[in-house]
Amino acid sequence: MISVPVPLGEVLAIAAEFERGGRLEEAARLIAHARGVAPEQPDLLHLAGIVAFRQKRPEEALALLEGAIAGSPDNALFHRNICEVYRLAGRLGDALAAGQRAVSLAPGDALALQNLAIIQYEHLDIAGSVASARRALALDPASPGAHFELAEALLLRGEMAEGWEEYEWRYRIAGAPQLMPPSDKPQWDGAAMGDGTVLLIADQGFGDVIQFARYIPWARERCSRVAIACSVEVAPLLRQIAPGVPIFQAWRECPAFAAYCPLSGLPRLHGTRVESIPAPVPYLRARPERVAAWRARLDALVPAGFRRIGVVWAGRPTHNNDRNRSTTLARFAPLARLASTALISLQKGEAAEQAGRFFGRAPLINLGAEIVDYDDTMAILDVLDLLVTVDTSVGHLAGAMGRPACVLLPHAPDWRWLLGRADSPWYPSLRLLRQDDRRDFGPLIAGLAAELA
């Protein structure tokens, strides 16, 4: 490369522009060029670290960012950014220290406070997380990220009145998937509707849909006309809970509506508090013909008299907390040591491949490969003795069906599982097994296996 005598500041500015515009290759090339001249320049190292992180090279990113901090230890921005990279790399102690350092160096930086709130949540320092989020909002009252972080912390503590309100900011976060195409219609406020149709949108993940679908009958009591927009996967579930309600899988097929509401917005309208969570379990049921078919299949595959324990070890990998909530099938080995027990895998997706590499002592029946839809999953849940799952939609399904299940939760769980308790007011048949600060599912599964032995 020909050396062009451009001032470093200008090179940095251009590279940063490329980085912001997502032109990462060009940014990386420019940074490499500049580092040929100034290899240890902290701003360059920092930007190189950000680019490496965005190019999914976290180890390299951390090395570069740590180099930047070594060269400029009091730069708050560097600490703020490395906090998030540490967090995503699972180095939570380092992330917390970086977050705190960033805030101490720049107490007026709302983003630094928001990052700190996130990492405090992960450390289950919920009071700290709430305080940081409130400080961030005091500096920047319209920060969707800070509002959302506050919502999660409050809801986890069971403070639902304020929590639901803050939760409404979730669709304003930069990069959040849009709920629906632009519309001039208002969001439903929960008041009784006359002739106008309320469009309910099955938003967020499948677990959320299963959890919040319980509010559909409540909404129907207030609206004479309801329509539901949802993905094809959850349509059979929603048909069960909302018989006769028009259900659509494509926006172009949606009828005219007077107002809309995401399903995840219904608890706020309902005024749900921990003590008033509606749990009309079971509100989902397996189809008898599917149950008969799967029962016959399992009778052929599982030796007579064997206990049937369903297992799910991973959720959707794109979930923002998948790193913490998912584990590996190998961690279920203690259950595979139980006598006269068969493990029944309901795992779907890429993680299902682990079934082929598992050599525990109990037979593992990989039904995941044969499950087509949630009707299959429900039918299988109906004929299992127990489900042991990480925090996935299958756990929600078992809960909605009133089937016995143990849900393995990360140290800092999703807000819906609340704090400390082993039961769930959302799903009475579920038992919650929570990681301690070792953040390891192993002891939880070993303990459960000991109980079942």
Partner: protein
């Protein structure tokens, strides 16, 4: 010899031998003038002038490569020279030229039998019966092939037919039948036939040798030794006598004497060194004596020699293609569209004991078949056979596994039921079933290659996969000859390669379909026998029976190389035996490391 001499060693050019272009062969009528030359070659050969006979044959075949007379004489010469590869190649051409040539077909079957290529041997043996259905030798060939191909009940039929057609009780035929019965574990009947055979012809080497092996298998070591003493008088120079004696001594744990005997044998072999079987036996004895470096050297030497003599090396490319096609076909998406065979409730059900050769499948079968409700099927070749007959049975233009696509046709939906019934009918014909048994085992090693097909045919059948430390399997694979797995065990590296291929394929099947699959660890059988046996019986669905723990008292004779071990009490000598051979196993440790870890075993430090 010219540059393009055929690799088979026939002495012909490749273009006139194994790489012949059919279009280049002159029409028979244009080479009539060479017939007198062929006759001269024949005469020279009869007169013992091999050099002249060979030269004349080579000359004729260069000009007229399809002259069967010249091919036959050259075959005789190469066979007499011990050049078995060339002999086989020449014989194949004779049979191909004249499929009704009984004599050549007979020779070819015997050659294939000696080489251990039973699958092709069976094809030609069946043809021999077609050519000459009333010929006792045709049935004798079928008897031999079927006996060695683990179908002794079919073999017994043909031997008895041979006796009937021969019209008298030929001593050698009686001995053949005795061997067949020994392979069915019918030792008393076998002994009676050996006694009858020897009474009629007291000095036949193979008979006495077979009888000694029968007594050894029946744990009558003194009787075996006495027969060998008798044989030594008849055939003092026959190395098999001392080889068998060494085997018996080994089973009597007189290792020093056994090794000394083998060493003394070497001088009697060509080149002053032992043959492949003797080398492996010596290695096994040295292993028992703790002389591990010498043992592995003997193993490798034996494997190399076997490979050189037989020409059987791992069919690497064929294995890669097979695995790729199976992986490509058996996917969850496709499997959802395929029917499964129904479960027959009117006949005993199979229990598949899967595993790499030398992983402990014989031990597990011997254990399970000690149960009153489980009969031993041994290594049933039927799943492999089904892969061959499937295109015909399903009327598919494609081979297996693609032939399964026919199941999508309205008139082929029950094709799997037909294949299942074919399997069950063959099992009945093979004499596997016994009264009171609701189950029978099929422990054909590497049946796991066809796990997907098995699960389609028998969706509820227990699949017990015997798992063992991969490096222990490698040691055992080096210390025994077997042809399973496309000759993978002809070298250490290829055994490891095939093991990895098959285990990855098993992982693929398990990730793509629901299987009634239980991994059962050989090491658990050793460490906690009762719990492991109980778990296995539980998995099959039968009550625990204490005699399963005393499998060594199961008088059923296991026909495979493991029979000597499974007739002893459970011992842990073979557990983590690889630790003694780390230096020798070093080349395959990197290849096997991921699987060793996946299976939960320790990867030994370098």
């Amino acid at each position: 010899m010219s540059q393009d001499a055929c690799a088979c060693g026939s002495g012909l050019r490749a273009a006139r031998c194994c790489a012949i272009d059919r279009a280049s062969i002159p029409r028979a009528e244009t080479t009539q003038h060479l017939i007198p030359v062929v006759e001269r070659a024949l005469a020279a050969h009869r007169a013992g002038d091999t050099a002249t006979a060979e030269r004349l044959c080579l000359d004729v075949l260069e000009l007229a490569p399809d002259r069967p007379g010249a091919l036959s004489v050259l075959y005789e010469i190469r066979r007499a020279q011990g050049n078995l590869r060339a002999a086989e190649a020449l014989l194949r051409r004779v049979v191909a030229l004249d499929p009704n040539n009984f004599s050549a077909t007979n020779e070819l079957v015997l050659a294939l039998l000696a080489k251990g290529d039973l699958a092709e041997g069976e094809v030609h043996a069946r043809n021999a019966v077609r050519i000459a259905p009333e010929n006792p030798q045709a049935h004798n060939l079928m008897g031999m092939i079927m006996t060695e191909a683990q179908r002794p009940a079919v073999g017994e039929y043909h031997y008895r037919r041979t006796l009937e057609l021969a019209g008298h009780r030929d001593a050698i035929l009686l001995a053949n039948l005795a061997w067949c019965l020994k392979n069915q574990g019918r030792m008393a009947e076998s002994r009676a036939l050996y006694e009858e055979s020897v009474a009629a012809a007291p000095e036949i080497r193979q008979t006495l040798l077979g009888w000694a092996r029968m007594e050894e298998a029946d744990r009558n070591f003194d009787a075996a030794m006495a027969i060998l003493d008798r044989l030594a008088v008849v055939a003092p120079e026959d190395p098999n006598v001392d080889l068998t004696r060494a085997i018996v001594l080994g089973r009597m744990r007189r290792y020093d004497a056994a090794v000394a005997l083998l060493d003394s044998l070497a001088s009697r072999f060509e080149g002053g060194r032992l043959g492949p079987n003797e080398l492996l036996e010596k290695g096994r004895l040295l292993d028992q004596m703790g002389r591990h470096d010498e043992a592995f050297t003997a193993f490798l030497e034996g494997k190399t020699l076997a490979r050189d003599l037989s020409g059987n090396a791992y069919l690497d490319e064929q294995a890669a293609v097979m695995v790729a096609r199976l992986r490509g076909f058996f996917t969850a998406e496709r499997l959802r569209t395929l029917p499964r065979a129904g479960v027959r409730t009117d006949v005993p059900q199979p229990v598949f004991i899967l595993g790499f050769p030398r992983s402990g499948t014989t031990l597990v079968e011997q254990t399970l078949s000690a149960h009153s409700r489980i009969a031993a099927g041994d290594e049933l070749p039927l799943i492999h056979d089904i892969t061959g007959i499937m295109p015909r049975m399903l009327a598919s233009p494609m081979p297996y596994p693609e032939a399964l696509a026919e199941l999508w046709m309205g008139d082929r939906r029950e094709g799997l039921d037909d294949l299942r019934d074919w399997y069950l009918q063959k099992v009945r014909h093979m004499g596997v079933l016994r009264p009171g048994a609701d189950f029978f085992t099929d422990k054909m090693p590497l049946n796991e290659t066809h796990l997907g097909l098995i699960a389609l045919l028998f969706p509820g059948a227990p699949l017990i996969h015997v798992i063992r430390h991969p490096l222990d399997i490698m040691v055992s694979a080096m210390s025994n000859h077997f042809t399973h797995g496309l000759y993978c065990a002809s070298a250490l590296e290829t055994a490891a390669r095939h093991y990895v291929r098959v285990m990855e394929l098993v992982g693929h099947y398990r990730s793509q379909m629901a299987l009634r699959y239980l991994p059962l660890r050989y090491e658990d059988m050793v460490e906690d026998q009762e719990a492991t046996v109980r778990a296995a019986l539980d998995f099959v669905g039968v009550e625990f029976e204490p005699q399963c723990l005393r499998f060594h008292e199961n008088r059923r004779y296991a026909r495979t190389a493991s029979y000597a071990q499974v007739s002893e009490r459970l011992y842990d000598r073979s557990k983590f035996r690889h630790l003694k051979y780390l230096r020798h196993l070093a080349p395959v440790i990197p290849v096997l490391r991921p699987l060793i870890e996946q299976l939960g075993y320790e990867v030994p430090a370098a």
